[in-house]
């Protein structure tokens, strides 16, 4: 499903997330395998893909069934990290410490749902396009 959606749509979704919440400094999007799909905002550029992969590995360890929804929030000294694994994606956000975790997860869920909906619509569009082409070549 992920490969059928243009990479820019994922980037746009993360930028929208940053606009939704002024508290979110940066965001990452990975697939469940740990491959980096998109990133936005203020994030340390070094080894971002590797860090993302390690986060996905850790979160996968917390959900033994694999495809469960997992929410993790980590409050460190100067900021917080939020991880949401749902369906095909794992989304990561960094914020300052004075945030309401429920609100951050609410925004993350909303954007992940939009991404999944867009990917499903793209899949349907491609399927109907393929059917039309097959019907055209058969005629």
């Amino acid at each position: 499903m992920l490969t059928r959606m243009a990479a820019t749509a994922h980037d746009l979704a993360l930028r929208y997330l940053l606009e939704l919440s002024a508290d979110i400094r940066g965001a990452l999007l990975m697939d469940r395998g740990g491959d980096l799909v998109a990133s936005a905002g203020l994030l340390p550029p070094e080894e971002l893909a590797e860090t993302g992969r390690r986060i996905v590995r850790e979160v996968s360890g917390l959900a033994p069934d694999g495809d469960q929804t997992v929410e993790v929030d980590v409050f460190a000294g100067r900021g917080a990290l939020f991880v949401l694994a749902e369906d095909a994606h794992v989304m990561v956000c960094t914020t300052n410490r004075s945030v309401n975790p429920g609100l951050i997860f609410y925004d993350m869920h909303a954007v992940l749902r939009d991404i999944d909906r867009a990917a499903a619509a793209e899949e349907r569009r491609e399927a109907s396009h393929g059917q039309r082409e097959a019907a055209g070549s058969g005629a």
Partner: protein, 70 residues
């Protein structure tokens, strides 16, 4: 100093100490997990998962390394 004044001073000191404790607890690092919309649980301080997730958070937030129980 009268016993009443001493009592009031002691009360103030206790309030200040409690406020400092609350502030320290609020600022203490913590890792919380919620699986499948169930009950959220805070990972034990010093547990390997909590330390690894905290280290990853610090990498992303560009903070110096420290463990939960430090």
């Amino acid at each position: 100093m009268s016993p009443r004044q001493r009592g009031r001073l002691g009360g103030y000191a206790e309030e200040v100490a409690a406020a400092m404790r609350r502030r320290r607890d609020v600022r203490r690092p913590r890792v919380r997990v919620r699986v499948d919309h169930g009950e959220a649980r805070v990972l034990a301080e010093g547990s390997p998962e909590a330390d690894r997730l905290l280290a990853l958070a610090r990498e992303m937030l560009d903070e110096p390394e420290e463990t939960l129980d430090a």
